[in-house]
């Protein structure tokens, strides 16, 4: 069964059922519990969590390990129980990204990573030391920009 939504950001989008993630507890402070993980542009390290409950809600996310070599996730015992056994096996980790005009102003939320396994997701509070709420995304990595894609005047 294919699913089509009218995303405010992307227009009409066909949702691959395999990309749907259920968040039993939602994302912290946001409404809705079903999202799809969309890869809109293979040339960027960003993916989008598009809400299936609210077409106007989409958050850019990325794999933190690509940007932060020291990044680790530690969860409380309560969260570990909630997430189920073998937390470390087959878990995809994402962090939300706050975009900005300049790359050096992009930040990622390492304090509240999103863990996804078998189509279920949880945003957890990271107990590992030194995880910033707004960590400069491009502080550690070198990037090549492909110029022409910028839409600024």
């Amino acid at each position: 069964m294919s699913l089509t939504i009218e995303s405010s950001r992307f227009g009409r989008v066909e949702i691959d059922p395999g990309s749907v993630i259920e968040f039993p507890d939602g994302l912290i402070g946001l409404s809705g519990s079903r999202y799809a993980l969309l890869a809109r542009d293979p040339d960027t390290p960003f993916l989008w969590l598009q809400s299936l409950d609210d077409p106007g809600l989409a958050l850019p996310v990325t794999n933190p390990h690509q940007f932060f070599s020291q990044f680790t996730v530690e969860v409380t015992d309560e969260d570990a129980e909630r997430l189920g056994p073998d937390l470390t096996a087959e878990v995809d980790v994402y962090v939300t990204v706050r975009a900005a005009e300049a790359l050096e102003d992009f930040v990622a939320n390492l304090k509240a990573p999103i863990l996804v396994r078998s189509g279920r997701g949880h945003q957890v509070i990271n107990q590992a030391a030194g995880c910033e709420l707004r960590a400069p995304l491009f502080a550690e990595v070198e990037v090549e920009t492909n110029g022409s894609s910028s839409s600024a005047c």
Binding site: L30, R40, D43, R98, L133, E142, T145, S149
Partner: protein, 76 residues
Amino acid sequence: MLRITRKTGERVMLGDDVVVEVLEVRGQTVRLGIDAPRSLVIYREEIWLEVKRENEAAALAASAPLPSVRLKGAGE
């Protein structure tokens, strides 16, 4: 807001299966113990609030499309 006075060791029930106990009071600091079903997620308010704000900001700030950047050393 409901206000209830409790002593150390006394408890409050929220519904039938959430128990909040005053474990210790020391000056301005109160230690609480909370027993709740696993499905109920418990946050310190200030952390919940800052993550909520960051989630909202991430959703609002992004201008699509995001810049095409390639991480050096990634992929190939």
